[in-house]
Subunit: 325 residues, 2 copies
């Protein structure tokens, strides 16, 4: 009789044989809402959509000069980290960025190399910061993706603005959102893993820690469940010292001696270019890098907590089963 571990591996293999693609396919036009639901949201499969945001003024307007003129004096939240990793495992610690308030012009000064500062800077506050902190830019795009809102029957929960240095990295994690990620300028490098590869992805519990360059503190220890998205994790950090479940593995340089099971995962590497839009389905694991000064806007639509989520929770439980990893 096969072990739980072997059954989970078989399940993951079957997912690739049954319905997953080996790469992320392109749609050349904005899709029909029903077709998009049926082909991509329902089956929980990513795709890249071209020619869906060509009409956004942002695509041609959002140069550093325009941004300085339009919103340069606005004070925004910037994640500052010593090494580019915000919300990531460093050694045995989970490191959160310092959240610094700066004018957008000051951020652009750093990105354009006009000013030198210690640390890596990344505008990445995922709390609808486009609408909250830079509402003057909202008219340069649509407040939502019309066919996605129609498909899901709801408006996005958040519209986020992303601007950062090439060294800023989003470490591997998953979110409880259907994500439409639009690149305005530059390009984003994604590594994706399907939820069904969960059996091969290591998790650890890590004590949380502010970035070393400011406000260090001594964590106390509390264990939390492993099924949390990045937003929830961030919220949990209001509870100082919370133990955080996170993925210690770096998919750019996986330590297969320590995490041999990751050798069976099938990460997909690809680039999303300016003018393109990635549909990143809920619960897909993703790691993101970018070209220097890349600007992006993403729309988070709350996921449905239905049978797929129910099954994923079972998978999560089983991945913690003795002999499963």
């Amino acid at each position: 009789m096969a072990s739980v571990k072997e059954r989970l591996a078989e399940f993951s293999r079957e997912a690739h044989e049954l319905y997953l693609n080996q790469s992320v396919p392109y749609l050349e036009d904005p899709p029909d809402p029903l077709q998009f639901y049926r082909d991509w949201i329902g089956p929980n499969k990513p795709c890249i959509i071209r020619n869906a945001i060509s009409h956004w003024p942002a695509l041609s307007k959002w140069t550093p000069e325009y941004l300085r003129k339009k919103v340069g004096s606005k004070v925004i939240s910037v994640a500052v980290t010593p090494n580019g990793y915000a919300d990531a495992v460093d050694g045995d610690r989970f490191v959160m960025p310092e959240e610094r308030k700066m004018s957008l012009s000051a951020v652009l000064d750093i990105i354009e190399g006009k000013v030198q500062q210690r640390g890596v800077f990344y505008v990445q506050k995922q709390s609808s910061n486009l609408l909250e902190e830079l509402p003057e830019l909202a008219n340069d795009l649509e407040p939502q993706i019309p066919w996605m809102s129609t498909a899901l029957g709801k408006s996005p929960d958040a519209v986020n603005f992303w601007l950062g240095e090439a060294t800023a990295i989003t470490s591997m994690h998953k979110d409880h959102y259907e994500n439409i990620y639009c690149v305005i300028s530059g390009e984003k490098n994604f590594i994706l893993l399907p939820p069904t590869d969960r059996p091969f992805i290591p998790y650890g519990n890590h004590s949380n820690h502010y970035v070393p360059q400011s406000k260090p503190y001594t964590p106390t220890v509390t264990i939390v469940t492993v099924s949390l998205c990045q937003v929830c994790i961030s919220q949990l950090f209001t509870v100082r010292g919370m133990m955080v479940p996170w993925i210690p593995l770096d998919p750019l340089d996986p330590d297969l001696d320590r995490y041999p099971q990751y050798g069976r995962a099938r990460p997909i590497h690809f680039i999303v270019k300016a003018g393109e839009m990635l549909y990143l389905p809920s619960l897909w694991f993703h790691h993101v890098q970018q070209s220097h000064g890349c600007i992006a806007v993403n729309f988070w639509y709350d996921m449905e907590y239905d049978i797929k989520y129910n099954y994923f929770q079972l998978l999560e439980m089983l991945c913690g089963f003795p002999g499963s990893t």
Copy 2:
């Protein structure tokens, strides 16, 4: 550490808490295709739709008199069983019905009590028998459910005609189809169990057997996997003596001493009346009875073999895990 069995039970309990309804809800009008996909097909949840077939002439036309006149002389396939159970476990055997060719008038004679015959008669051949055997009736209804075909982006694989005695019973099983089940006259009594209750549903391997009243034969033994729908099971019976995985439990009188885990399942009992339509999602377990002479038509749309199927296969595998039942 909880056992696999306990984890599966927790998974099933979570399904009921997360997204399943305690009864089967009613829609009062034919739905919008996208909304139907999003609310029912995607989440794999049953519902009853009213006022969706009111315009079908069949609803008023299909009296025994009309059927005799229009198609009385047509020869059709009828399942004949000693006790009303076709495709069911009897003792330690899986019993298939005798498939008898008869005129529809002869079937109506039996149902109307004009002729006495041994056995229970049920027109239930699930191979698009409405279109294949009784095409003259097709104009009395639509060839497909328009909003369902739009939602799924395809036409039905089969349109089946059902007519039978009150004692004819469809034993508990699941199908690999999205099923739209329309009651034309009389009523159908359904017992449904969600796929997530699979951990509580017993399966056994049973040697197949023709009904005792004709053509007995001695089976040889071959073991097959448990994930087969009723149609595949029927096809497998061309291989005589195949061991058939089937549910030995009778939900009308469950033997909880023998199958105590079924006590944790949550069957839903309900009636579908003339003019109503049941959406019976793929992989839901169902047991069906009917009023005497009930007429129904169902549409089978092929299911998608995507992430939900993939997860269900994992569940099936785990239900065979030592200590899981």
